[in-house]
Amino acid sequence: MDNLELKRHANEVRRGVLIGTHAAKAGHPGGSLSAADIFTYLYFEEMNVDPANPKDPKRDRFVLSKGHTAPGLYAALAEKGFFPKEELTTLRKLGSHLQGHPSLKCTSGVDMSTGSLGQGISAAAGMAMAGKLDNADYRVYTLLGDGELEEGQVWEASMFAGAKKLDNLVVIVDNNGLQIDGPVSEVNDPNPIDKKFEAFNFHVINVDAHDFDALRAAFKEARETKGMPTAIIAHSLKGKGISFMEGQVGWHGKAPNDEEFATAMAELDKIEEGLK
């Protein structure tokens, strides 16, 4: 898929994030938007998944370790065709299959229930380990927040993945630099992130999270890396794509009101115009 098409899908994913969180009057748009291009690349270019056969044992797996950005994942799954986009407005509502955090029992296309930070990367490592035991070809991808790196379990899982040489595992860090209480560098600085993963025996790639050429090159490099897992440190902008949300920690866990929603959707309309 060419970059123009990827950008169109990414724009739709961003719409989905806004639609979901606006309808829910809650949720996490900031980190969903910073990861929107990563979600798009994974689901439209990188991963072998089929909405018609969501439980295919041979499929690639994705674990959203930073589970609070479920609106981004749901928007990507809907865009890919796992369920109708109209259902995004049911996000977080009673009876909806779109729970506040991903649940594998509820939503088609969700490979692991997550939400409690630090646990998803372990589950992903478990999936990769199972693939190794079975000599399976599938690959496993997991997306973490940079604030999430403060959870000790992330490093337990990383030590395991490095030690077991899980080269079918790709850990992606959405490095937007902001967490609820402020900049990650001020709260409990996880930097240098790349050096940490290197020390845990990962192949590490730093990349611009919003540059599809760079993402393409990074995921290709990950595929070609043998004998060790890959960590892609994706340098991103929180709230990316919506001018008044970009770089604002306040949009971590706050939904747009009607007015903000209209403004944001108009901005995406403008981007869409430019992609025609």
Binding site: Q119, S122, A123, G126, M127
Partner: protein, 312 residues
């Protein structure tokens, strides 16, 4: 009971895993650097390719187990009860319990009989912690025969199971030809109309010994083995309560939240009778040999008998 054959249920557990490995090709066993103690090392020796040492990182191990289960593996994740239910509680709850994955938690070294290691390693709260997780099956077998049967039953059962075993040797008594294990089904071991003793784990043996001592006093005890604490066998509990009107529960666990609490929950609603909970009375343990501790905490046959007599 000097010459009775004694086997620790952790030993039975490790042996069962190794015995069943060939029958369940999708079985994998995870441990956290305790394979020699939990006895998963027996499986490791037989099936080295299906044994994964996760190192000293129990929280990670539980979520690794969850991930493997999503890929069709029958996963046994093993460590001491303290770490399985305590340290990794939230991983068990959120990564295994919530998605209801097919992970079996083989928790060894439960209870006071851990012995010399002392209170930091004597988990007296695990039954309570595990049984509040929706969908979690909690099994606490009483001897070698029952442990092996429980491991097989857990393998055949689709969903998360917490299997609680111990470090110390316990007499083998479930060796009758009519012995049958079914998850969620209690076992009537002795019929009597004066008092009920409802026990789990190694306390079942103490209950049988206490029943003999009571019999010498002319008191006939109804002895029930509740190997599955969740889902609990309501019928057998109501039946014994109706029969005797006086129930004693016996567990190597805190009296808060464990078997005694589970029995009270059932009987309060279905057949209110007086229930005395015998176990560890809201204290931490201490170092000592398993035997000395069982005696001090009055959980051996004699101690149990005396506690029952005092409370009758």
């Amino acid at each position: 009971m000097g010459d009775v054959k004694k086997i620790a249920t952790r030993e039975s557990y490790g042996n069962a895993l190794a015995e069943l490995g060939a029958e369940y090709p999708n079985m994998v066993v995870l441990d956290a650097d305790l394979a020699a103690a939990t006895k998963t090392g027996v499986f490791k020796k037989a099936f080295p390719d299906r044994f994964i040492d996760c190192g000293i990182a129990e929280s990670n191990m539980m979520a690794i187990a969850a991930g493997m289960a999503t890929c069709g593996k029958l996963v046994w994740a093993s460590t001491f009860a303290m770490f399985a239910s305590g340290r990794a509680y939230e991983q068990v709850r959120n990564s295994i319990g919530y998605p209801h994955l097919n992970v079996k938690i083989g928790a060894t070294h439960a209870g006071i009989t851990v012995g010399e290691d002392g209170a930091s390693h004597q988990c007296l709260e695990d039954i309570a912690l595990m049984r509040v997780i929706p969908g979690m099956t909690v099994i606490c077998p009483s001897d070698d025969v029952e442990t092996k049967a429980a491991v097989r039953a857990a393998c055949d059962f689709d969903g998360p199971v917490y299997l609680r075993t111990g470090r110390a040797g316990v007499p083998v008594f479930n060796d009758g030809a009519d012995y049958r294990f079914e998850i969620g089904k209690g076992i009537q071991l002795k019929e009597g109309g004066d008092v009920s003793i409802v026990a789990t784990g190694l306390m079942v043996n103490s209950a049988l010994e206490a029943a003999e001592l009571l019999a010498a006093d002319g008191i006939k005890a109804d002895v029930v083995n509740i190997h599955t604490i969740k889902p609990i066998d309501k019928d057998i509990l109501v039946k014994t309560a109706q029969k005797t009107g006086k129930v004693f529960t016996a567990e190597e666990h805190s009296v808060i939240g464990g078997l005694g609490a589970a029995v009270c929950e059932v009987l309060a609603e279905e057949c209110p009778v007086k229930v005395h909970r015998i176990g560890i009375y809201d204290v931490f343990g201490e170092s000592g040999s398993a035997g000395a501790l069982m005696e001090k905490y009055r959980l051996d046959g004699k101690g149990l008998y005396e506690q029952i007599k005092e409370k009758m």
